[in-house]
Structures are given as structure tokens and as C-alpha cells.
């Protein structure tokens, strides 16, 4: 996003999203975790949102005045922990082999 004031407080360390950028998007009219996630990539990095999800929700609650417990968290998507394409492919190959035996 353009014209975001400098801020060295990083909210999402996977995607380097600062608190100032997050607040700029909230000021732009985004009211939910899901919207913020899609426009800034927060919670979508390798940590799967483990680090930032709660920080983002706290920010959203603080800025918009919505109670934290009334905010809907963004979807939790599989896989719960990063896994390589190769590891899954090897699992598929092993299953095929076992079927043949």
C-alpha cells in the first residue's frame, strides 16, 4: 500500500506487514480479519498465522472498537504445518507400490 507512515513494529513477520500498514487498511474500510488477510497476506505465510493471527485481531478490535470475542477469525486451512510437495508425492508413490504388492 502507498503512503504508509514508517513503523518498525512488524505484525506479520512472514510477509513483513507493519502495524502502520495494517492500520492503513483498516482505515481504508476493511472491517474483518478475512479481508485484511486477503489484501495484506497476514496469516498466510509459512507460520500459518500462528504468530500474527492474535496480534491482527487485537489491532482490529482496538482500532474499530469491536470486542475481540465478537471478531470472526480467518479460516484455518490445511495443511496445519508446512509439508513439502516431495514428501506428499513420495507418500503417494509408496501407496501405489503397496497396492501393487
Amino acid at each position: 500500500m502507498d503512503n504508509v507512515p514508517p513503523d518498525d513494529t512488524i505484525i506479520c513477520r512472514c510477509s513483513d506487514v507493519t502495524r502502520a500498514e495494517l492500520r492503513a487498511w483498516i482505515a481504508h474500510g476493511l472491517t474483518s480479519m478475512d479481508e485484511l488477510k486477503r489484501l495484506t497476506r497476514i496469516t498466510m505465510g509459512p507460520c500459518q498465522g500462528r504468530t500474527c493471527r492474535h496480534l491482527v485481531m487485537q489491532e482490529l478490535a482496538a482500532v474499530t472498537g469491536q470486542p475481540l470475542e465478537e471478531l470472526t477469525p480467518s479460516s484455518f486451512r490445511q495443511p496445519l504445518k508446512g509439508i513439502t510437495l516431495g514428501a506428499v508425492a513420495d507418500w503417494v508413490a509408496k501407496e501405489k507400490q503397496e497396492k501393487e504388492v
Partner: protein
Amino acid sequence: MKQQAEVVIIGGGVVGCSIAYHLAQNGMKDVVLLERSYHASGSTGRCGAGVRQQWGTELNCRLAQGSCRDFETLREDLDYIADIEFKQGGYLLVAYTPQQVEQFKLNVALQNSLGIASRFCTPREAQEIVPHLNIEPLMAATFYHRDGHANPFHVTQAYADAAKRLGVEINLYTTVTAILTAKGKVTGVRTDQGDIACRVVVNAAGGQAKLIADMAGVEIPTISERHQILVTEPVDAFQGPMVMSFHHNTYCQQTPHGSFIMGLGDPREPQGQEIRSSWQFLKDMSDKITAMLPPLRNLRIVRQWAGLYHMTPDKSPILGSAPELEGFEMALGFSGHGFMISPMVARLMAAHILTLTHPDLDILQRLTVERFTRGDLIIEPSVV
């Protein structure tokens, strides 16, 4: 929320928002857009984010070509506050059977005749374009360097912001419950937030468009079907083009952000509104993509999701008026490629609704729903 408007658009995805923008841009500012959730929460935000001009029908080629021109300057034209992450790294389409090779030759000839400078490649040439491509079983490929990627969330937001500045009223978290009609004409829209009187309704509801058409009693020959995608962690850029195979029903592209987005069309997928992810997809996708692009083995999958393709019998969209209900306009049935052609679709829909002239309006006239009763199908052979 307004209680009256000239035009009500149903759907806050890229199609609805871009139509709203072009209507307002052409002077029609009394427009209300309704979205049951948030922008791009449906098919737009779940799509593969590709922008391709290498199509197999004249109409799709022209829609994609005009749209790509729009994407090239969209951020400046819409005066948007963020990057739309537009990238032109090309599309490499790969063929594995003699029939696919023949189809590709036809496609390239068609594309070239329309000014899309795609080219036919040998497997060796394909490997020069994507060095890590496994060309073992490959017979041929086609490449166009101006195809690419754009971020669907930002493109939608860009159109929505610009439409709003021109006076369009956008109501998120507002669900349509009925289309109001009298004597064969649209008279309004009922929502969970109240009624809006209007003479024109635009159905741009993506995967839910059939449900909206049903509310209006308008028949459309479409079905919704789940398609799934996964994305990896971001890494340094090493794959310029989208690699797409109609044989494996897969596509895979590295985004400007560094992540790889990949999807797979499963012919066993039943029709319906299911949008949960499956383990089967994770397995099929990993199996196929590591065979096709072996170095991707080392990338970590961080997320998978699913969305709906809204399919027509010929896999081309349905645009324009419903014959049985005056004032009911349609931009739906995009069959998995709505995002990439939305800029042009919006221009044509706005021209059609406002009865303006447009040099490409023949495209819309040939994509009306009447083509199915006439038997005049526009069969798109190149869909994943």
C-alpha cells in the same frame, strides 16, 4: 442502503465491481452493488490468478486480449492505492498427445490471426523457456510472453474503490433473498437489509449465480463444480511462466510474491456447492506437479483451498439479457476463467446496459443465453 436505484448489481467479486465501475464511468452513477460477504470472497478470490490470452475460441481470445491491455495500466487508470501484482512472465502450454498438438496448432493460428503473438515450440524450446520442465513425455508446447498473473483481491478492490469514488453504493454483508418482478419485468431486489426498487438487475454472483437466476425464474444451463488449489511458501523467483497442461488438467505459476500457486481439475468432481479442501487433491497435485516440474519437490505447501467454477455447456460465459425477464442482465458462467476476462466483460456489459456503441459488442451478442436454444455453441477447447 438506498431504497431505489437505476441498476442493482448482485455480486462483489471482480465481475460485479468492474461492471459497477464501467457503468459509473459512463455516467450511470445511480448504481447499488450487493455482496453477501466481502469483496472477492467467492470465486474471484479463490481463482488461480492467471491472465491468459492463449484461448481456443475467437471470442475468448478477444476478451482476454482486451482485458490484458486493461490490466497493463489498471493501477494507474483506477488510481489504486496498492500494487495489483501484475506480472507478464508468459504462459507455457504443454501437449502430450497428437490430438493436443493438432489443437495447439489450430489455437496458435487463430491467436496469431487476432494479433496474439503466441508461438509453437518443440520440447527443447519449451525447456529453454522453463529449464526445470521435465520434457520426457512432452510432444510440443505453445508460449505467449504477454500472458501472466494479477492479484484478484487487489484488482477487485481497485475496481470497487474506483466505483465508490464515482458514486456507486456498495453494500457488503448484504444477502439477496428475492428478485422482485411484475408483468415480466424486474421491479426490485429484496435483501436481508430491506428492498431496493430498480429496473435493471445484474447477476454477477459467480458460483452462486444459478441460485440468483432461480430466484428470478430465469433458466440458465449451468452447474457449479469445486476446483482446488494449493500454494507454497515464497522463494526467490525461478519460474517466469505459468506452466499449464490440459493433459494432466493442471497449472502452476510462481507469483510476484514468490509463492507457487497450482491447481488441478478433477474429472471425478461432482457438481454442487462444496468448497472444502480434500486430501485427495493434495495427493494428486503433489504427484503430478513433482513429475512435471521436479525441483518443486523441495517447496513447502503452506495452504490449500477450493472454489467454484460456474460451468456452461460450452465453457464460454453467458452475457447480456435474459429473454424471459426484462431488466435481468447476466455476466455469469465463466467456467473457471472469469477473473482474467473481467475487464473486457465489464466494458461490454456497461455498453450493453447503457445502449452505447462499442467496437467489440458483437462478442456479447454472440454469448447471450439464447445460443443454447439456437444450438449455436461457442465451444472452448482449452479449459483446465
